[in-house]
């Protein structure tokens, strides 16, 4: 979080992209500290890639300004922006070997040949590909190509590193490994980076701060902790992490009701219909629910039980709502099955309350739980 205190290195002021009548990115303002890794997170079509392309100069901004280290670069063509870009499909030059790919940016900067060679060697060492300098891109695996793409973007020592869904073409194991590698290198070099992804776990894992976007609008900007624990709205709560979503009501007297159960919650305090969101793993199954302030408890009926090894997920009908409860499994645990009555308990601060969204704004998620 130290990066937050750093002076802004990249600033977006009212950045806007319109395609005809469509506002792909709407008045986006954002300030990224030196050495900070910021994530642009959102579903496809939210404008995150468009934002990245505008920062990189690959697409002109309709309106607004892009400032790098105090200098307005909005009108500069990409080749004069000094930004390293890692593309989703890697975009390695197929007719050049690995060393030539890395050397290309240095040649453009008129770096003398011997220094060029040294820097290419250093960059290859950084991504542990020294032995592959003479290979053509098509002779490399996906993970290796990804590392070459990263090294190529970094060898020019750009002022900003832009990563456009760099991990989406890798399989799951490699993705985790590469994301940590990207984070390590980014921190080691202290480079300011913008990371576009639709994968919330990826963003939570490596970003200093995350900008959650939807339909061209910045919904929330915050640290992974803030985004997850204190989502600004129903959309952010639903998009980041798994969450139960139930229709509730807050009376004029301030009482929060889910069906006929009275709850304590956090967030929206206005009277009227509300949406109550609770993360499945924050709900406990217990015979002796903690009493008093700060805790909610209710009794429900198990409707379904799914065992997935490390996790047990249990669906509980609670009045009109259906809540998914996730528990870590352990040996000897006694678990309730379908038809059993169970007592649930969860903390008031885990009970997120939002004004009920007008119909049609959010499509109803299946089974009351947003996909992970």
């Amino acid at each position: 979080m130290a990066a937050e205190a750093a002076p802004p290195h990249l600033e977006l002021h009212g950045l806007e992209k319109r395609f005809g009548a469509t506002r792909a990115v709407q008045a986006l303002s954002l300030s990224v500290g030196k050495g900070e890794l910021i994530g642009l997170l959102g579903p496809s079509g939210c404008g995150k890639t468009t934002t990245l392309r505008m920062i990189g100069g690959l697409m002109p901004a309709t309106d607004g300004r892009i400032i790098v280290a105090g200098r307005d670069v909005t009108a500069l063509p990409p080749h004069r922006r000094d930004m390293g870009i890692v593309f989703q499909n890697y975009a390695l030059f197929p007719h050049m070997d690995v060393a030539q790919n890395l050397s290309f940016g240095l040649e453009m900067r008129k770096i003398p040949a011997d220094e060029r060679q040294q820097r290419v060697q250093r960059a290859l060492a950084m991504v542990r590909l020294e032995a592959f300098a003479a290979r053509k891109p098509r002779e490399l695996s996906g993970g290796q190509q990804q590392r070459v793409a990263l090294a190529r973007a970094l060898v020019i020592e750009p002022s900003i590193l832009l990563l456009d869904e760099p991990l989406s073409n890798l399989d799951a194991n490699l993705r985790e490994e590469m994301r940590n590698e990207i984070r390590d290198i980014q921190q080691r070099l202290g480079i300011t980076a913008v990371f576009v992804t639709h994968d919330q776990a990826e963003a939570l894992a490596i970003c200093d701060r995350i900008a959650v976007m939807r339909a061209g609008v910045l919904e929330q900007l915050g640290t992974p902790f803030e985004i997850y624990e204190r989502p600004a709205n129903e959309f952010v709560a639903g998009f980041v992490g798994r969450v139960n979503r139930a229709a509730g009501h807050r009376g004029a007297d301030g009482r929060l009701l889910l069906g006929d159960v009275v709850l304590q919650g956090t967030g929206h305090a206005g009277a009227g219909p509300v949406t109550i969101m609770i993360r499945p793993h924050r709900i406990r199954l217990t015979d002796t629910p903690p009493e008093g302030i700060g805790w909610n408890s209710a009794t429900g009926t198990v409707t379904r039980r799914t065992f997935v090894g490390d996790l047990l997920s249990i669906e509980v009908a609670l009045g009109p709502a259906s809540l998914l409860v996730e528990q870590h499994t352990f040996a000897g645990a006694v678990v309730a099955g379908p038809g059993d009555a169970v007592r649930l308990a969860w903390r008031a601060e885990d009970t997120l309350v939002f004004p009920a969204s007008p119909a049609g704004v959010f499509p109803a998620p299946p089974a009351g739980v947003f996909p992970a």
Partner: protein
């Protein structure tokens, strides 16, 4: 049949057709060039080297050969220069429009080359559209037909569809993110073209050039009409000898020389294409 089973049988019809309609006539042609030509199209029965001896001794034919190769290379070059930007534009356009544009590019092929040649005669002729236009903007028009200029203009336009099709076929390796990557690494647009776009489109360029060159050197109607009989090329000479003066042995010998030029072009193409393949693949 080995591990392919009966599969090789599938090529038999094509082999048979080629033997019958290509190789057999070619051999006949070769034989014909060693016979004596009689006035009025008659052909002697005795073996003679006379045709080949005269042909190889006469500088006129060497001149024709060199001119044909030179003109064909020039036309190929112009077709490439005119076709490349067009093919690039078509390749880059929206998928919705691309097919339509491709059809537009090759639609001239729907009209016979003869008709298009007469069209050019009308456009380029002394009272035609092109000279009037030039006069209109204050330029004294040079002669545009019945000379080399007319032949080059006509053939470039007539053969451009083949060039464009070949280029488009070779543009498959091109991907706009590669250009974006190069630009992000600091390459200005012209450098992006030289270092990324051109190398990746080289296979298409080579194929288009081979095709255009071979088609140019074998075309005779357009050079004959637009050249007004003043542009003497290998193909027009073959035509004249076979159809006008009826010196069939000479026409046969010249045809074999043309075949040799095609062979040489194939060899050169193969060499360059292989070298390019090694360099860029």
């Amino acid at each position: 049949m080995g591990r392919f089973g009966l599969l090789p049988l599938l090529v038999l019809p094509a082999v048979a057709v080629n033997l019958l309609t290509f190789l057999w006539p070619m051999l006949n042609l070769a034989g014909l060039s060693f016979r004596e030509g009689m006035p009025g199209g008659g052909i002697g029965t005795d073996f003679t080297m006379a045709t080949w001896r005269d042909l190889l001794a006469d500088e006129f034919y060497l001149e024709i050969l060199l001119r044909s190769v030179g003109v064909s290379l020039t036309i190929t070059g112009f077709a490439l220069l005119a076709g490349y930007p067009l093919a690039f534009f078509v390749h880059r356009s929206d998928a919705r429009w691309r097919n339509l544009l491709v059809v537009a590019c090759i639609s001239p092929l729907l009209i016979s080359a003869v008709v298009r040649t007469y069209g050019w005669l009308v456009i380029l002729g002394d009272r035609g559209f092109a000279p009037s236009l030039l006069r209109g903007i204050g330029i004294d028009p040079p002669r545009l037909v019945f000379n080399m200029t007319g032949v080059i203009i006509g053939l470039v336009e007539i053969l451009m569809p083949y060039m464009i099709l070949s280029l488009l076929a070779g543009f498959g390796k091109l991907n706009q993110t590669l250009e974006e990557a190069a630009a992000s690494l600091g390459a200005p647009p012209l450098t992006v073209f030289w270092r990324i776009v051109l190398p990746l489109t080289l296979p298409g360029i080579l194929l288009g050039c081979l095709l255009t060159f071979v088609l140019t050197i074998s075309s005779f109607i357009t050079p004959k009409l637009l050249g007004g009989g003043r542009v003497l090329l290998l193909a027009t000479e073959i035509y004249d000898n076979a159809i006008v003066t009826l010196n069939w042995p000479l026409a046969a010998a010249l045809s074999l020389i043309a075949l040799g030029v095609f062979g040489a072009a194939m060899v050169v193409y193969g060499r360059i294409a292989r070298a390019a393949e090694r360099a860029i693949a």
